[in-house]
Subunit: 355 residues, 2 copies
């Protein structure tokens, strides 16, 4: 398989096409599952997926551009790559997407995030208590969906999914704990700690998607391990790319305010890597971060210092090396054919996207 | 098997003895499971179980008197009643108790309950965001624990547990919705709606405990269905007894303020049954409930009207008939021997307790 270097726009177009082919089979099954919930959490769940406005009226939203459908597509592609029809992993695709939605709904409450996908987050639209219930409903439905999956791989898939739930909690706990820790000094968050957090918080669910698809498609535990590694590394690359876009992304494209992560003092990889460089720029960055960055001038200076200290470069290198490991894991499978090529397109998109 | 009519104190003593024998094997397994979590949610989980104070220092609390251990005991007893060693269902006992703890932690946030088991609830002690995380951790751990359960009954047990999670959400959604509905008129909450809510919110998990124990103990699906019915009916009897204690219970014994449910305008069975009686007392009660009950005089009058309209009697009758159906389901098993006798003691305790 060959893949030309491509621009973010090209990577996005190709990925959108792959996503629309591979994620769409999961859509009706996901909606059917949500409709089995109590009407109130079902309405909040529909809002969280972008199917309905806050009053439950159907809305039509583009899905591919904001990366939605990535996880179900990964599940179904990995089943296909294991030689099974994609439908064999449909329950897994639904379950993984439900877990993703659960984690967004609850994390937005914990993190105080008021916006999600260009709209009010669920807790801002419906209230904290109801949003807790909506998240619980999504998680319960995920487990119930996978528990009903037929086939010999379903017990192993459930073990992977539930271990991932524990990892997600671990990653979220670390992420919150990072907020209370300093930028510099002996208690500063290290790059290694950040990588472990991001792997738990973002990598684990992409790894789970790949492993669950493989297992439900009849793949061996060893093959599922390699697919999990592929997904984890891709997830880490995805998160680091998110961090880069959170500092240098175009607000008109990302839908988030410029430098929003810097404004909020969020501990992201480019900043942590810059601070660890030990250069004069790193020291000046540490001094600049001692007070909140408010004005545009502060932010511009911080961005320049992060770049001068090599934070942007190191983040890009890490995303690139994670992508490389993900592609290596895919190729180590000896996987070929359309499913493997489509997987490679998706993996590259995670790093090459502009939003 | 014969059981003499007994006083609440005697029922409690016998139940405490049964609980200490049957719930205690699950204790170390539960603690070991919690210790695998990230240290922060693990500390909050330990607080929620009463093993530690809010700073994580170990505390020694009596467990039997407040009904703790009921669900693990039910799991292990039902495995034993199915002819298996109790240990065969240990993972189920741990999983069910973790689900119970999860639902208390999240429901206390949604309901704004500040006290739980004579202490600050988890969200009052640790904050709303951390309490959401603690609940998520408990639920994730429940699923992961059962997913690792060995034996042929474990897949069916997971199906029961996950269906119960959906029911718990359903019951909680209804319970919250009831708060916004009127006491009287065409939109009033009916006794039938209340029973459906209580069965989902309280009955489902006790039914799940019994079925999971039976299945992990090698019992057939049909036998598990009967055990589930026993647990559901017992759970409903438990909830209605809770409602009675919430109005007429002795604050020194229950640990809750006198008439706390009446003060908060909570829709409980004795009140709903009284309002449906259609008598002059029922009408006067409806009028009295139009404004919040604040003073001791208001509360005393409301209690008298509920009693005069037959609400207390109907609630006792419902608890009694649910207990009867639970005992019938147990006897329909042809179950006998020590496990069946201990089960009967526990079922009776749920109705005859004073707290």
């Amino acid at each position: 398989m060959t893949l030309d270097p491509s621009s973010p726009a090209e990577a996005e177009d190709r990925a959108a096409e792959v996503l629309s082919r591979w994620a769409s089979p999961a859509g009706p099954a996901l909606r059917a599952a949500v409709e089995t919930l109590h009407p109130w959490p079902a309405r909040m769940a529909a809002y969280s997926f972008g199917w309905a406005d806050r009053d439950g009226r159907p809305v039509d939203r583009r899905t591919a551009a904001d990366g939605k459908g990535l996880r179900p597509a990964l599940v179904l592609l990995c089943a296909r790559a294991a030689g099974a029809p994609a439908e064999s992993a449909l329950t897994g695709a639904v379950a993984v997407e439900l877990v993703h939605a659960f984690s967004l709904v609850h994390d937005d409450i914990m993190d105080g995030d008021e916006r999600r996908r260009h709209r009010a987050s669920v807790w801002r639209a419906h209230g904290v208590g109801p949003a807790i219930l909506a998240g619980d409903a999504l998680l319960a439905l995920a487990v119930a969906t996978l528990a009903r999956a037929p086939g010999p791989g379903s017990a192993a898939a459930m073990e992977r999914l539930s271990a991932t739930l524990i990892e997600l909690v671990h990653g979220q706990a670390e992420d919150i704990a990072f907020e209370g820790r300093p930028w510099t000094g002996p208690d500063a968050v290290t790059v290694e700690e950040y990588v472990a957090m991001a792997e738990a918080k973002t990598g684990s669910l992409l790894g789970c998607a790949a492993a669950v698809g493989c297992l439900l498609g009849g793949g061996s535990p060893e093959r599922a391990d390699r697919m999990a590694l592929m997904g984890r590394q891709a997830g880490l690359a995805f998160q680091v790319t998110d961090d880069l876009l959170g500092i240098w992304g175009d607000p008109a494209v990302t839908g988030k305010p410029a430098s929003s992560d810097l404004r909020r003092g969020k501990k992201t990889l480019p900043v942590l890597a810059a601070l660890q460089a030990g250069t004069p720029a790193a020291r000046r960055l540490g001094e600049a971060l001692a007070a909140p960055l408010t004005g545009e001038e502060d932010l511009e200076r911080a961005r320049a210092l992060i770049e001068a200290a090599g934070g942007r470069r190191r983040a890009r290198e890490l995303a690139g090396s994670c992508l490389g490991r993900a592609l290596d894991a895919l190729h180590a499978e000896g996987a070929s054919g359309p499913a493997a090529e489509d997987l490679a397109v998706l993996l590259r998109f995670l790093v090459e996207r502009a939003r």
